[in-house]
């Protein structure tokens, strides 16, 4: 019974002498493998060599400082609310007198923890932040560790260094104008 007209009639020809001898086919195959011997290798030697990543890659979080080195985070908790994985915990505190050089706003995060095992790196915290304080770096990932509690990143590992030269090179480095524009846009959206 013919169901479609796409079927092809195949003629079963007896094999030629060359085909039966098998050696020409083997030589062809060996030619193919030899070509692969000299071809470019697909392997990326991971720790030494990194896969090229998109500039918008969402990697390890960083808590940004402003242009004079004060922490931008005001511990509003919007990132924790936005987080679908509930990976962010924070404790807010009031800025004391004399701490104006440390914290930008009157309220700041006394502790700020992200559980990297829960985090899905969706970037919603970054989008939610009205102070442009949290970013997902494009060039850093949470490295493998031996203990589970080592994956809970506190402020010690999240806040970027005061010295700008020690900061991530490829991470998003916004100029103050860009940061302000972003904050305004965020505020407008809400």
């Amino acid at each position: 019974m013919q169901l479609t007209n796409r079927s092809k009639h195949l003629e079963k020809k007896p094999m030629t002498l060359a085909e039966r001898a098998y050696l020409p086919a083997i030589l062809t195959g060996m030619g193919i493998t030899l070509k692969h011997f000299f071809s470019k290798k697909a392997t990326i030697r991971y720790p030494e060599e990194l896969r090229p990543m998109s500039p918008t890659f969402r990697g390890l979080h960083v808590l940004k400082r402003d242009e004079v080195g004060r922490e931008r985070c005001t511990a509003c908790g919007l990132c924790a609310v936005a987080c679908p994985a509930e990976a962010i915990t924070m404790v807010a505190g009031e800025r004391k007198k004399g701490e104006e050089g440390l914290y930008r706003e009157e309220k700041y995060a006394v502790s700020y923890e992200i559980n990297m095992l829960r985090c899905i790196f969706c970037g919603l915290c970054e989008e939610a932040c009205p102070k442009a304080a949290i970013y997902l770096q494009a060039d850093k990932m949470a490295p493998p560790r031996f203990e589970r509690d080592e994956f809970t990143y506190g402020k010690d590992r999240l806040v970027e260094p005061v010295d700008p030269s020690a900061r991530s090179k490829r991470g998003i480095q916004l100029t103050p104008e860009q940061a302000e524009a972003l904050a305004r846009r965020m505020a407008g959206m809400e």
Partner: protein
């Protein structure tokens, strides 16, 4: 005079033994790298520079694994199997000439060959054939049906392919007229390697060498898809390592034998020119030694090429089915080998032997052969 010569010979034996082991060790590394390269990967590169310490790491791993004895196994034979496989594999490299002679100032002449026997090729044949006993004993002593099946396959395969191999060799011996590997190499010093006289014989020999060493496409004795691990299913630790090692030594020996028999061994193109030029400028002794050393380098280059060839084929071809293996051995290679003998005989009759000396010695025999063929 006698004792230093013996000492030198002992040194050569030790060197051959060491080189065999070293090459087998690094074959395991080479195999992984070649496999990786053929599959667009880079292979082991973590242990040491370029992963060169990988064999060492493998050895440490194998030594520290548990020595497992399956219940109901014959303990003595279970240990004896891998030992036999290893011993026979190591014995075969003894007669391979790795170079001509080195002559010292006082006239001491040492051969770069562990032992020179006039039945060299038969010796290699005999010893390599013994290797299948290692596999059979190991497979049988394991008290495991998969192991036993692997062992039975190995035995059947060895018997089938040794026939064609021997027949291919007879044709070669008709050309060379000697069984000594050293003599065969020296005959090829005129630049015409035996592959010119025996192309078909070489192909048969090569295919059979693959089967003899249990390499893909003939690795049915250890066929993972059907037999778990074949004859070494139950083996662990260094006993397993000995089996794997024996396979690589066999590959090395097969490569050495192939390059000696068909590709001129330690002879290389232009050696007469090198010899003559150096004799004029530096003297005969120096020229002889330089040619010998270059020859040793040459034979190792040839051996390494063949080892690469073994791996290249392994990572190109799929495994044969068992009936295909038997059909290829008995209905193709065996008749072709016999045909090769007939054609070689006819060629020797019509065109004369390669060496006029052999021709003279062969004269009465060739006429006899003719009458037999006609009768």
């Amino acid at each position: 005079m006698e004792i230093p010569l013996l000492a030198w010979q002992g040194l050569v034996i030790l060197a051959v033994f060491g080189i065999t082991l070293l090459i087998a060790t690094y074959s395991t590394y080479a195999e992984r790298v070649v496999a990786a390269f053929l599959q667009d990967r880079v292979g082991p590169d973590r242990a040491g520079p370029f992963g060169l310490l990988q064999p060492l790491a493998d050895a440490v791993k194998l030594f520290t694994k548990e020595e497992f004895f399956p219940s109901g196994a014959n303990r003595w034979l279970f240990v004896f199997g891998p030992c036999l496989a290893m011993t026979t594999a190591l014995m075969a490299s003894a007669v391979i000439p790795f170079g001509n002679t080195l002559i010292f100032g006082d006239g001491t002449e040492i051969r770069l060959q562990a032992i020179e026997v006039n039945i060299g090729m038969l010796y290699v044949f005999g010893v390599v054939s013994l290797g299948v006993y290692g596999i059979m004993i190991g497979g049988w002593a394991s008290n495991n049906k998969f192991s036993l099946l692997g062992a039975v396959r190995a035995a059947a395969q060895a018997v089938s392919y040794e026939l064609a191999m021997g027949m291919a060799l007879i044709a070669l011996l008709m050309v060379t007229g000697t069984l000594s590997l050293r003599e065969i190499t020296l005959q090829q010093y005129n630049g015409l390697w035996n592959i010119v006289y025996q192309p078909l014989g070489f192909i048969i020999f090569c295919v059979c060498a693959f089967a003899e060493t249990n390499r893909t496409p003939f690795d049915l004795p250890e066929c993972e898809t059907e037999l778990v691990g074949g004859y070494h299913t139950e083996y662990s630790s260094m006993k397993m390592g000995l089996y794997l090692f024996a396979e690589y030594i066999n590959v090395f020996v097969a490569s050495a034998v192939m390059s000696t028999l068909y590709f001129g061994g330690f002879s290389f193109p232009g050696e007469h020119w090198v010899y003559n030029t150096l004799t004029q400028s530096q003297g005969e002794l120096f020229a002889h030694n330089v040619v010998t050393i270059l020859g040793t380098v040459t034979i190792f280059a040839k051996i390494f090429f063949f080892i690469f060839f073994f791996m290249w084929v392994r990572w190109t071809l799929p495994r044969f089915r068992y009936d295909q293996l038997m059909r290829l051995g008995w209905t193709m290679l065996f008749p072709i080998a016999i045909l090769n003998i007939l054609v070689t005989g006819a060629c020797i009759l019509f065109f004369g032997a390669k060496d006029p000396k052999i021709e003279a010695a062969k004269k009465p025999q060739t006429t006899e052969t003719r009458t037999v063929v006609r009768g």
